[in-house]
Amino acid sequence: MTNDYYGEALATAFDLNNTLGYTSNVAISANTFNLTTKPGPLFTGIDQNIRTLAPPPGTVYPTSVSFPRQQPSDFSRRIESGIDTALQAPTNYQFSLTYEREIRGGTLFQASYIGRLARHLLATRDVMALNNLRDPKSGMDWYTAATMLEKQRQLGTDPANVQPIPYFENLLPKNYASSLAAWNCDPTNGCQYSIPTTDTATQAVYSQGFQFWANDWTDIEDEIEHVAANALDPTCCDPNNPPNADPLPFFFNPQYGALSAWGTIANSNYHGFSASL
């Protein structure tokens, strides 16, 4: 007899905290301060009161909490965990079938089958996994389009020879390459890589991998969202002053970069056979 007292396990062993709830953490993000124009607050003593320091721009130190509440849709790619509210009891099935026959000379033949099936097992998955966004016009999805580019990247195809793929041409603004060129450059540190502003959107996306991110298509998706948003900004596309619009949520959820949630969503199938003489 086996047991699936999943509630007891959750009560005693579940140890993943979501940051929303009855606690809060107001924290300074990286690059908020520098050593020239935006210095951070001074150390005044090892017992300093942190609450006298200014909170991050646009935030306040909380004085109470109320529900319902939500993480802001600020595209900060936060990674959190949780549990599904639709848990149900796992179901397990076990069965076997054995056939046995005595043949000549006292030889015994036996054949057996053993099966074990389980449904609604506990498992985690990222419910904010990046969208496999489909282009309604071409019918193509992200993974198909990105795979076409990745195969060319692995062959070392020059960006100038990459043919337009309708997925990118339909999804992204016409001035995507110009926006990428501006995004990619910093007035003081120069450009990370060169992007002809006459490139097609497909060529520009390809260059992001070919020239910088290699096969890191998750970071490319992140960058696409920023560059596409900037392309739609009226101030686009000055390399000396690139806009900083909120990303377009093509792939990432605006609230979470990842949200790993327990759910009773897993199945298992085991089939075993044996034969003996």
Partner: protein, 395 residues
Amino acid sequence: MVHTNPVAIAALNAAATKYPANDTSLDDGIMTEGYRFNASTPVKLNSNMARIDWAMSSKMNAFFRLNTYYDHDTTAVLSAFPDTPAPRLWAHPWGLVASHNWSIGRNWVNSFRYGLTRQSFSQQSDSNQNAITFRSVFSPTNFNGTASRSMPVHNIVDDVAWIKGKHTINFGTNVRLVKNNRTGFANAYDSASTNYFFYSPAGTAVTDPLQTYMGDPANNILPTVPGQYVQIASNQNGVDAAGGALIRTYSSYSARSTFAADGSLLSSGTRTNRTFATNAYDFYVQDSWKNLGLRYGIASPVNETHGFGAVTDISTEEFLKRRIASATKGVPYIQPLNLVLAGGKGKGPLYDWDKNNVQAARFRSVVAELLPGASAFSIWGTRQVGHPLRVCNDE
């Protein structure tokens, strides 16, 4: 341009005086060095067991057993310095069981057992202050907040056997009352740090101006020791750490807040107490003759007993399905996911009661005679829902 902070220099000077560097094998050996000391790391492991057996009569007996553990371990987290607390890992689980067996007449036997298992531990802290640190240079203590947990599990079992002719009928119950009491200070204190990686631009904010300044002959401070400048230039993290500590402006700080169940703000340093609980109840009846039986179980969803429960307004599974469906149509699903109160004050429990755990006994199926030539044939199967029980098997 930011300059050095005399208050920070004084604090570092006090620390260096109190804990003089004595080990160049730690850190970079130039900008920062280590302070090594002998730390006492006693470990105490104690356990006790007591048992009482009592033959109350020819038809009745009982026993009681108690186990306790009382362990102290100071090797898990060492003290930061000789004069700072050494946080102990304190494990003190214990358990007891009481049993009573009673033969009632010639045909009845009752067996009762009560067990309590109480797992518990506490990783203690070396500080009850805000964590203010000079990253990679000096931290007054380890600032590990105390975290404690105790998990009492009460188990009540009663089995009754009744012998009647060819029948041996058993019935009884198994009740489990589970709690997980957690307390901690993980979010009780604020923190601040001279985190040199947080200055913009990350990684080079401190070293770049230092190297520029030192490399300028006009400043006439090039090191006289051959190779020293090269070593500083190639030791970016060490220079960053030391430079960041001397500058001592906070590039990183966090304000952590905790709230009461009514939503009001708790004062800094207040411990967080949570209790997660669930109860499960099983009942069964079976007869050894023909091996028939029925078992039923019901279990409550896990809940936080102080009213701190919160759940998503849309099940995460449903949320994922909506995202997939919307992406297939070419439209990103950006409906915000909300947290709402759960339990008595809100939406309901974390998940539904687990109440469909019914298991029947077995059915026998012997069909060997249906297969000519087979000397034996057997088939059995089990369907287990929640807490499973075999429902069919061969003999």
